[in-house]
């Protein structure tokens, strides 16, 4: 068996991905939106976010949480394959000061295509799932 076939054979539905905690601050949020060229005030203008839009603080950009779902799976996967697809949605807003945790669990295994379906999530410090998703990875055939 190839290395990746062996790894696939060792996977079990219900296996947890180790996950990671994120505590984004103003600097990270600014750099992220600068990298996008996103000038939306709710991400950097705190008086505007609070007084005009009624948010409790500066809003974390939704796609950054989507990125963290990918990171969670890629760190687990290593070089054994690649992400083929993701479905996710930003259900609950998150703010500077929140403690956010990315994680996942193997939901299904498809041996015929050597695909792994992983339920992924970002939770906030209250334990609410703010960004649920599903990622499909394909374990590559080594060589």
């Amino acid at each position: 068996m190839t290395v990746n076939a062996e790894r696939f054979a060792g996977l079990r539905v219900g296996e947890q991905l180790s996950g990671r905690e994120y505590t984004p601050d103003n600097v990270q949020l600014m750099l992220y939106n600068a990298a996008l060229w996103n000038g939306h005030r709710i991400h950097f203008d705190e008086p505007y976010a609070k007084n005009v839009e009624g948010y409790p603080g500066l809003v974390i950009a939704g796609p950054m949480l989507g990125d963290w779902l990918h990171q969670c799976v890629e760190e687990w996967l290593g070089e054994d394959g690649h992400i083929f697809s993701i479905d996710y949605s930003n259900r609950v807003a998150t703010y500077i000061g929140d403690v956010l945790t990315a994680g996942g669990e193997i939901a299904a295994l498809r041996p015929e295509t050597r695909e792994v379906e992983i339920d992924v999530y970002i939770k906030n410090q209250s334990g609410d799932v703010v960004t649920p998703g599903k990622i499909v990875v394909r374990l590559a055939d080594a060589g």
């Binding site: 600068a34 939306h40 203008d45 796609p63």
Partner: protein, 151 residues
């Protein structure tokens, strides 16, 4: 039927924005990888683009006068909807090829669907936009479908 969606509105389904062609650079990959807190060396060094790098690559760049007072650029692909309050939406992304510095990528966005559903507190409008990203050989690299809900 007291539908919210007029014939005129529905006729915008299929509308396509002008394609945009951009080059992937090592510096832009590095900036994105750092900003997202990525921990993988190949991304931090800019040797390969991480997933979702197409988000900064194709974010709309408009002149200051075209931004709304809250700093947002108006999406000219979209018609004026009778509901305007945006609720959570969803994203579906397929990755078909890896992306490296030096790659030229072209994205085309299409408004693919508009439909109405009855929610608990009234009608909701859903719309879908598909962004296809191809390389210079015409091969599909990434397909992203965004679904947004208005109430």
């Amino acid at each position: 039927m007291s539908g919210l969606l007029s014939e005129e509105l529905l006729s915008t389904i299929g509308r396509r924005a002008a394609p945009r062609r951009e080059i992937v650079t090592r510096r832009d990959i590095r900036k994105y990888a750092v900003a997202t807190g990525n921990r993988q060396r190949k991304y931090l060094d800019g040797d390969e683009a991480p997933p979702m790098f197409h988000v900064p690559l194709f974010w709309d760049v408009v002149e200051l006068a075209q931004l709304t007072p809250d700093g947002v650029s108006i999406d000219s692909l979209l018609p004026k909807f009778p509901l305007e309050k945006a609720m959570a939406g969803g994203l579906n992304i397929e990755y078909h090829k890896s992306v490296y510095p030096g790659d030229w990528l072209t994205s085309t966005r299409t408004l693919t669907d508009i439909y109405e559903k009855k929610g608990r507190s009234g009608s909701l409008i859903f719309y879908e936009v598909v962004m296809d990203i191809v390389d210079d050989d015409g091969d599909l690299v990434i397909r992203e479908k965004t679904t947004r809900i208005l109430r």
